[in-house]
Amino acid sequence: MKNKLEEFRNRNGWTQQELADRVEVSRQTIISLESGRYNPSILLAFRLARLFKLQVEDLFLFSDEENHHG
């Protein structure tokens, strides 16, 4: 799933480690999320969205392809 995590992280001037510390995951998880290799749990998605004061769908982009289990 595509997301705007890197964009919003950079806007806040946080490093990957700083973001990881704020949502209590490892830095590797942030790296995987930003590269789109890993889809977060709904809980982590909400934590990240709340941190950036966004709605989940503003941060994580759900496409039609994913709707068909692509």
Partner: protein, 154 residues
């Protein structure tokens, strides 16, 4: 008590549980060796199990006990161990290892069933030892490999 400390305290309790169980099992092994040594060939396997449990318990106590003293390392430790991606990777590895283990155990069971009807040669001696060793090591290998692959791909 905050969430991290509570989580670490649970691990420390588990460590004590292993340690106490290990001491008890080890003690039973030593006593059995002395008192009932004439009944079975070797009770040292029980003592060995006790030592293993003591080792696991001590490992838990050292790892989580040191984290309790320092708030920053406690946070890092809980984050590392509860990190959802790491949990997923370990769960996937465990699932794969479980299936390999199940297949190997089933093959062994089927083989010994057929062997008891003289349809296959029986697994004895070295062959049995190597098969059992493979049944232990192969799932472990799959577990480690799966973690390495998923760490790179996920």
């Amino acid at each position: 008590m905050d969430n991290q400390k509570e989580w670490i305290m649970i691990r420390i309790r588990i460590g004590w549980l292993f340690l106490v169980a290990g001491v008890l099992v080890g003690f039973v092994g030593v006593i059995a060796e002395l008192q009932l040594g004439h009944l079975f060939k070797d009770f040292r396997i029980v003592t060995g199990l006790g030592i293993l449990l003591v080792g696991i318990g001590a490992g838990y106590l050292v790892r989580y006990g040191s984290a309790l003293k320092d708030e920053k390392s406690a946070l890092r430790l809980t984050v590392e161990e509860r990190d959802e991606r790491s949990v997923l990777i370990r769960a996937r590895a465990g699932n794969r290892a479980f299936w390999v283990s199940t297949v190997l155990i089933n093959i062994g069971l089927m083989w010994s069933s057929f062997a008891s009807n003289d349809r296959l040669p029986p697994l004895t001696g070295d062959t049995l030892w190597f098969y059992l060793a493979a049944a232990v090591l192969l799932p472990f290998g799959i577990y480690i490999t799966s973690i390495l692959v998923d760490e790179r791909n996920l």
